[in-house]
């Protein structure tokens, strides 16, 4: 956050933030509230919200921390698009901006949504290393740069849940594991140190897993870290199909 505040000079740009508020203790449903905010050229949507919080309306609630697009706290809908507000620059936005909580997720209050769906999905999909072999004593596993490159892009997920807000299946099926949890499962499936792919299929290839995905690809479009959940899910569908054929042919699969 820039510590300086905009001056009151006539040239100061004024932006209108139309914010979807929801106060469950006093309102049955969300409502809109507008704030006029004097802004600096360098500011992000988050800076403008912080100005509101500090100087206009202290009751506005939202999450944020790092202000550098890595902690994943500050996702919200900005003019209808799932966005990290700390990386959404006002210079690229019109003077009137609509801000809503991330879509498809239950709203706790104002811009704060429930996040357990991702974390629970990760636990169900076993997004941790299931070792291929015990670790060598006093050494790291060997892993070549090429092997690292296989899974590294998928390891970049910051758990911001923008992909959940973009995915129509997340809205349609409350049990769907969701793009990020599946991408993280595939991150471990592709790790040369891991042998958990078959075990993970129990959930990732279940009714709430990869087959729910209709390959709209919006998840990959909105990802701020260029993770490609849609691509990962297609890989997982293929692997799951191969495994099914192997078992049908009595080949036992890759256990």
């Amino acid at each position: 956050m820039n510590s300086s505040s905009p001056s009151s000079a006539a040239s100061t740009r004024m932006v209108t933030l139309d914010v979807a508020r929801f106060r469950p203790e006093s309102e049955p449903a969300p409502s809109w509230q507008s704030y006029q905010v004097p802004v600096l050229e360098e500011w992000t949507v988050l800076d403008a919200l912080n100005h509101v919080k500090d100087h206009i309306d202290g009751s506005l609630s939202y999450r944020w921390s790092c202000h550098m697009a890595v902690c994943g706290s500050c996702g919200m809908m900005v003019n209808g698009n799932p966005t990290l507000s700390c990386k959404s620059f006002l210079r690229e936005l019109p003077d009137q901006i609509r801000i809503e909580p991330l879509a498809n997720l239950k709203v706790i209050r104002d811009l704060v949504v429930e996040q357990n769906r991702l974390i629970d999905g990760m636990a169900a999909a076993k997004t941790w290393l299931i070792p291929r072999e015990p670790p060598p004593a006093d050494q790291a596993y060997r892993q070549t740069p090429a092997q690292l490159a296989q899974y590294r892009p998928l390891s970049m997920c910051i758990n911001c849940m923008l992909c959940y807000a973009a995915c129509p299946q997340v809205a349609l099926n409350p049990g769907y594991l969701g793009p990020a949890a599946l991408a993280l499962a595939q991150r471990y499936n592709l790790d040369s140190r891991d042998a958990g792919a078959i075990e993970r299929m129990q959930t990732t290839a279940s009714d709430d897993g990869v087959w729910e995905c209709t390959f709209i690809g919006e998840c990959s479009e909105v990802c701020p870290k260029h993770v490609d959940p849609a691509g990962a899910i297609q890989q997982m569908k293929l692997a799951s199909s191969l495994e099914w054929f192997k078992r049908r042919l009595g080949l036992g699969g890759d256990a």
Partner: protein, 584 residues
């Protein structure tokens, strides 16, 4: 309505140190119930923002002794050397353990783990995952922790006060942020792993959550804060936002220039400028020296004027686009987004920025505190391996090494000891919730969060920045006491219970005022210059009078009391810190 959670080990903070501690408990004794309490979801913890890497000796010619010597001299001989010995010895094991859990460390062509150069380190020993090392460490730990059923997470639960009976800790009070519901966690031992307090200053790399709550909690309960005057300025933050540009940029070959295009560090006992890379020289000098050099350059009018303060230029263009993309992709992403500079084609404007609190909760080498059953690890703690100036890439290793030790120690206490009867905490629990509710219950006043916080920021930056001296520190001690008094009148407008962020900002401000007060008092008392604590009125290090740890004890509504504690010196006698050509 109050919810009571009975656990064996209660851990406050779920960043790197807290998660590592939780896993250590779960692995050593799966029957112990771990309550992992954090005011944010684990992956939001500020470990996530660390970039450059984690130090641990891997191969010759590097040695544990070299890592020890670099750390002790880097800390200007204020480190406890027994703690540093344990740290450097355990470091490679801790980093390998993380590899075994899947951390995507960068690799060499043979499949081994790659290491890079870092400031103040004689050899390449910093393990890295591009320039997102903290991010990968945190997510690896979080994902690994999910497989242990004995670890129960309490995400978005704000810890308030320790419950203490006759010097023994038996739990902590808390508020569920999502519901506003009061909670009590009871356990045989408690670990604080809640991070640092960089937000006490206005211009910092630290995320919004780093308000020193855990430090202040221990401090209020009677545990002293140790060496809390030592605040690290990182030499390369982006102007305006304070976003960190990793030291890894210099570890890979980045150079610093003043407004004349001159590598000014050679004027500050860090040269000669060539050949590069020369360990412990020039851009690979320690952070305190580099930030101090900026201050002098600014005085001499040799920095570059910028809209958000003066800057110098960090140039990595000569690394080429391929290496920048491979080793420093986030530096490129951040510079392009936040200052509109593509470092492939132009130098990055940077200035010193508050980054790390070397001091913290006073612990011994086993992470024990003055209260039985209470442990602390990570940036909130002072064990102390960082002394007067932390070397870059030692802190990510520290959270692993001492997080694990804290977990094992706390597990041993929890499985052995008898529990304090719950009814003995009744009064403390009532007082704690009354204190926490006060900003919501009070009648309106003129005091505001933004007002008090702004005044605190101004006086901390003015009196306790890169260079300090007596008169401003005296004034700051007086002013922060007044702010603490006025804080007792603070009333907030939002009286709701569900996700009331204004309420938690008010509680965080209380912690920041306590920590800020301890910092200026400690800085006033240390009438010497050592590491990151530089006094214009006492420009030399003074081992005869000040080779000791500062201890600040909470004084309630009065000023903190000051005492000292000896530094543990095992095999490195205090000597002059030497950098530049003479160091190699």
């Amino acid at each position: 309505m109050m919810r009571t959670i009975r656990a064996d080990v209660v851990i406050i903070g779920a960043g790197g140190a807290g998660l590592r501690a939780a896993i250590a408990v779960a692995e050593t004794d799966p029957s112990l119930r771990v309550a992992l309490v954090s005011k944010v979801y684990p992956m939001r913890s500020h470990t996530v923002a660390a970039e450059g890497g984690a130090a641990g000796v891997t191969k010759s010619p590097d040695t544990l002794d070299a890592h020890f010597k670099d750390t002790v001299s880097g800390g200007d001989w204020l480190c406890d050397q027994d703690a540093v010995e344990r740290f450097v010895e355990q470091a490679p094991k801790s980093l390998r353990q993380l590899e075994h859990w899947g951390c995507p460390w960068n690799r060499d062509d043979q499949g081994g783990v790659q290491v890079r150069s870092f400031g103040g380190m004689k050899h390449q020993r910093t393990w890295f995952a591009a320039d997102k090392s903290g991010f990968h460490i945190l997510h690896t730990l979080f994902q690994t922790s999910q497989q242990f059923p004995s670890i129960q997470r309490f995400d978005e639960v704000f810890a308030l006060d320790l419950l203490v009976d006759h010097g023994v800790v038996g739990g902590v009070t808390a508020l569920d942020i999502q519901s506003g519901e009061p909670m009590v966690f009871l356990g045989g031992s408690v670990i604080i792993a809640s991070g640092g307090a960089g937000r006490v200053f206005p211009f910092t790399t630290n995320g919004a959550i780093k308000t020193g709550d855990g430090m202040a909690m221990a401090y209020r309960a009677g545990v002293p804060l140790k060496d809390i005057e030592f605040v690290q300025y990182h030499p390369t933050g982006l102007p305006g936002t304070g976003i960190l540009i990793t030291e890894g940029a210099r570890g890979e070959g980045g150079l610093l220039y003043n407004k004349d295009g001159y590598r000014y560090l050679q004027d500050y006992n860090l040269g000669p400028p060539d050949p590069w890379p020369r360990p412990k020289a020039m851009e690979l000098g320690p952070r305190d020296r580099l930030s101090q050099a900026f201050w002098h350059e600014q005085r001499r009018g040799r920095t570059i004027k910028g809209e958000f303060g003066d800057v110098v230029h960090l140039d990595i263009r000569h690394l080429g686009e391929q290496k920048i993309n491979e080793r420093l992709p986030m530096v490129r992403e951040l510079a392009r987004a936040y200052v509109g500079v593509d470092p492939v084609h132009a130098p990055i404007p940077v200035r010193p920025v508050v980054h790390y609190t070397m001091g913290g909760i006073d612990t011994d080498i086993d992470t024990r505190t003055a209260l039985a059953g209470l442990f602390a690890a990570g940036e909130c703690a002072c064990v102390s391996i960082n002394g007067a100036n932390r070397l870059g890439s030692n802190s990510l290793t520290e959270i692993l090494v001492f997080g694990e030790i804290a977990g094992l120690q706390a597990a041993a206490v929890a499985s052995g000891g008898a529990r304090i009867a719950e009814h003995r905490f009744g009064d403390q629990i009532a007082v704690s919730f009354e204190r926490a509710s006060a900003p919501v219950m009070r009648p309106p006043s003129a005091e505001t969060i933004v007002g008090l916080r702004g005044e605190l920021h101004e006086l901390m930056e003015g009196a306790a920045g890169i260079y300090r001296e007596d008169a401003p520190l005296q004034a700051a001690c007086k002013s922060v006491a007044e702010l603490r008094g006025r804080y007792q009148q603070l009333a907030i407008g939002d009286h709701s219970r569900v996700f009331n962020t204004q309420w938690f900002q008010a509680l965080e401000l209380g912690a920041m005022l306590d920590i800020g007060e301890a910092m200026v008092h400690a800085a006033l008392n240390r009438r010497e210059s050592r590491g990151a604590h530089q006094r214009l009125d006492f420009p030399e290090r003074n081992d005869a009078d000040f080779l000791h740890h500062s201890l600040l004890s909470y004084g309630g509504s009065k000023a903190p009391t000051f005492s000292t504690k000896p530094v543990t010196i095992t095999r490195s006698k205090p000597a002059e810190r030497v950098y530049g050509g003479a160091a190699t």
